[in-house]
């Protein structure tokens, strides 16, 4: 055991550069996919709540459509989704390889995931508070912006953390089909060349990234929660 660890430590300087760029690529993919998830998933999640019957902006025809879109996105295994959207990826980024190309399937996979979590968080907002806002003559946009979202904020941050963690694992899968990042390192250096040290190192780095996201998220949740 000690021997194995010493050997691993000796190898680290040699692996450093590959691991460094792998980590950067992973963070780059996850970050941008997170940005797009929020950009599209947040409004989608809010709409899932407000378009239902008796909601803020009832739209009996839109709600089932949005629900179906989200369900389709949620039911596709990520590895299938990646392949399925290849032509869209090429259209948007001009390539199907590398971290930038991977942002497309990552975002498409995470938007419905985040949207469902947003829906749950927004649904938890006390109906009485929303009604009080109506009674005060609040316009609908302000009910979303000043009541629903701020009241749901702790839940929204938790949803964001879950999405980031999921994206880290998706991004490792993206590596398997040439997406780059730590998943790519693990497959190419670790699996195909039977180099366990690369495997260990990528596992450790992925765990650290997930752990960091969770810790920061928990801190933020504690700051924004006043219940």
């Amino acid at each position: 055991m000690i021997d194995a660890l010493t050997e691993f430590a000796d190898r680290l300087p040699g692996m450093q550069e590959t691991l460094y760029y792998g980590t950067l690529d992973t963070l780059y993919m996850v970050l941008w996919a997170t940005v797009f998830s929020v950009l599209f998933g947040l409004p989608l999640g809010v709409l899932l709540v407000t378009t239902e019957r008796g909601g803020l902006t009832p739209a009996p025809w839109l709600k089932p459509v949005l629900g179906a879109v989200v369900n389709i996105g949620r039911s596709l295994p990520f590895i299938v989704l990646m392949v399925a959207v290849l032509s869209l990826t090429r259209l948007l980024t001009g390539t199907t390889l590398g971290p930038t190309a991977a942002i497309v399937p990552l975002s498409i996979g995470a938007v419905p995931f985040f949207a469902r979590l947003v829906e749950t968080a927004v649904r938890e907002v006390d109906r009485g508070v929303v009604e009080a806002a109506h009674a005060m003559g609040t316009r609908k946009s302000a009910i979303v912006g000043k009541v629903l979202l701020p009241e749901a904020l702790p839940g929204l941050v938790a949803a964001l953390v879950m999405t980031v963690v999921t994206l880290v694992s998706y991004s490792a899968m993206a590596g398997a089909i040439g997406g780059g990042g730590l998943g790519d390192v693990a497959i190419r250096e670790g699996y195909q060349r039977f180099d366990d040290h690369y495997l260990w190192a990528t596992v450790i780095l992925l765990v650290v990234i997930v752990q960091a996201a969770q810790t920061i998220g928990d801190l933020v949740i504690r700051r924004v929660s006043h219940r």
Binding site: V129, E131, A135, M136, G137, T138, R139, A142
Partner: protein, 322 residues
């Protein structure tokens, strides 16, 4: 100040119709405290929510401060609602905002600039006795304090009318007392018209000028509390003054609509030579006055004259037992 005419509200529930309001006529005068009492499910909340159109009545008209609420479009309705404060049983404060932030909310709606908001919030906090809690979050307050914030928020945009749905039902008796006192003070000092809903007779007795008893979506009786008390067979009177029924011959129920300094009963015996026997009695503070009610047996030759004497003195006399 609030006029509702022939209000009906029907909820469709799985193809069945639940009638929550079944022809309610409500008339609340400027500057009075009007209480609606009734059992659970009587339709009290529905009535209140119809006043600011949180619930649109199935039929009927609601006029608040001269404005026909039922005829307003969305934007006008929002504007009209800003002149109607509402206090909620479970406070309905934003947990994400401080006390000051909660009170500022309606001011933001009305487009009051930031600097003037701060001054107004401070003023309102003083008014409800929470000057030191501006930066606290609702979760850090007691129930009574939360309701004070709720009241301050309801008053922020200078409403003409305050609606209160069971504002004290979630509070303990002492806190209830202090919140009722606050409402009464606001009514007196700001001339605020208050329509409140309660299931406690005590609330009616303490602060209401007028009242209605509600059952199955209709008003069984309504009017000035003091008038209702004097009305034969009034449910309100018997709920406020639960006197035991009497079979004693020649007995009358005598209501004192105010406190009297004169010894009326002994004068009665002296001047009319009647026998007076007090069977039961109660004195209560109602609508700010001491009101008493006695069941007395009055017997003698000049009984009619004696009863007329009491009526002339301003007492309300009615033959009991029927």
């Amino acid at each position: 100040m609030i006029e509702a005419v022939d209000l009906h509200k029907v909820y469709p529930v799985n193809k069945r119709r639940v009638v929550a309001l079944d022809g309610v006529d409500l008339s609340v005068e400027q500057g009075e405290v009007y209480g609606v009492v009734g059992q659970s499910g009587a339709g009290k909340s529905t009535l209140l929510r119809c006043v600011n159109l949180l619930e649109r009545p199935t039929s009927g008209r609601v006029v608040v401060d001269g404005r026909d609420m039922t005829a307003l479009g969305a934007a006008d309705l929002r504007r009209a609602r800003r002149r109607i404060g509402m206090v909620h049983q479970h406070f309905a404060l934003l947990s994400s905002r401080t006390v000051a932030g909660n009170i500022a909310f309606p001011l933001e709606n009305a487009g009051v600039p930031r600097r003037r908001r701060g001054a107004r919030v401070a003023e309102l906090l003083d008014l409800v006795g929470l000057g030191d809690k501006a930066k606290a979050y609702p979760a850090q307050l007691s129930g009574g304090q939360k309701q004070r914030v709720g009241i301050a928020r309801a008053l922020a945009s200078d409403p003409a009318v305050l609606l209160s749905d069971e504002a004290t039902s979630a509070l303990d008796p002492d806190t209830t007392e202090s919140i009722l006192e606050l409402l009464r003070d606001l009514n007196r000092e700001l001339g605020l018209t208050i329509l409140l809903i309660t299931h406690e007779m005590d609330v009616i007795k303490r602060i209401c000028d007028s009242a209605a008893i509600m059952e199955s979506g209709t008003f069984l009786e309504s009017g000035k509390v003091l008038d209702l008390i004097a009305t034969p067979g009034s449910r309100l009177a018997s709920s406020l003054f639960p006197l035991p029924p009497t079979d004693a011959p020649d007995s009358v129920a005598v209501t004192y609509p105010r406190a009297y300094d004169e010894p009326l009963m002994s004068e009665l015996t002296r001047r009319f030579g009647v026998d007076v026997n007090i069977l039961a009695g109660a004195v209560e503070q109602v609508a700010g006055t001491s009101v008493g009610r006695l069941n007395v047996q009055i017997q003698g030759e000049r009984r009619d004259g004696a009863l007329r004497f009491l009526t002339d003195k301003g007492l309300l006399v009615q033959e009991a037992g029927r």
